[in-house]
């Protein structure tokens, strides 16, 4: 089975960043994930989604790593803010004016959500995985995914609303 790693690398890196909230850890996770996927590529069933399979590998790697480290060290959100600019693609002039500040703010708010909410929101909204795929990946139920997604959206709405009220 041939896999177009180039096609999935950005999404996998974003997922790693969402999980770890540490760009350096995300880089290591991406490399480990691609290596593991490449070695196990023959196990990829043609009927299953390559994307879901790769994201499952990434999630398992992160979960194993988090268990080992017991997540003693949590990076400061501010350090991610710095890295956000490093890993951002070159924006167009319009994006520079319109989107950059909002995007950075949304990114930071999202990264401050609880782990489960952040992961579900990311997989659903950014990577467009369906509820069942997310439930399978996280080892939970579809209803739980829907509920968590609703909570995450609610949290973000609150933050946006608060920001709008403070800066009308």
């Amino acid at each position: 089975m041939e896999i177009d790693y180039e096609h999935y690398s950005d999404g996998l890196f974003r997922f790693a960043l969402s999980l770890s909230r540490d760009p350096h850890v995300a880089e290591d996770l991406l490399q480990d994930c691609l290596l593991k996927a490449h070695r196990a590529r023959n196990q990829l069933n043609q009927r299953s989604s390559t994307k879901a399979w790769l994201f499952q590998i990434m999630f398992n790697l992160w979960r194993d790593q988090a268990r080992q480290k017991q997540q003693k060290h949590r990076p400061e959100i501010q350090s991610i803010d710095d890295q956000f600019e490093v890993y951002s693609r070159e924006p167009s002039p319009v994006e520079k004016v319109m989107a950059n500040e909002t995007s950075r703010q949304i990114f930071l708010w999202m990264q401050s959500l609880p782990d489960q909410q952040r992961t579900v929101l990311f997989l659903s909204v950014v990577e467009q995985l369906n509820h069942q795929q997310i439930a399978d990946m996280l080892g939970t139920s579809r209803d739980s995914v829907k509920s968590t997604l609703s909570q995450a959206r609610k949290q973000l709405r609150k933050k946006i609303k608060a920001a709008k009220q403070s800066n009308p």
Partner: protein
Amino acid sequence: MNQKQPCQSIDDYIDDLLDPNDQTAFEAHLSSCEPCREELEIATSLDSLVQEAWAGIAAPREIRNKLPQTPKRDSKIHNQESHVSFRVSALVAAATIVLALGLMVLHMTQPNEVTQRLDSQPVKRDEPTQQRKRLLPTAPYEQVRVESESAIVETVQTGRTGFTLIHVFPSRKFPAED
């Protein structure tokens, strides 16, 4: 419906959890409630805002340059694999044919239950033909009967196995059939 209740149900409205009546009531409430309209506007644009925020994040270039390349299949190895695969398929097919032939021969050489019963019973010359006929196989069969002055030869060939039963009776004592 007072002003406070519908505002509290905005989350259910966004998550599409309201029943049709409450949904209609909430939509009517929206026209007169600016905070709810604003929140709904945020909710509808939330997903695209999140997507925009993450769209700017890309994998570091140095990692992209080191992505594993799926090796192009070496033609020599590919040919060898194809050759092995063909040989395995041919062996499996040959084994299946041999097994099928073996089973067919075994089935034809062993008399079935009906013929065993017919063979095991001694021919009673006085036994009515109808009684013996009840023992004949129920599967389609061909019956050939030749009568002469001294004997009657009856062959029965079953359509299923091709097994032939031959009965010889003295003609003078064989009861006539209706």
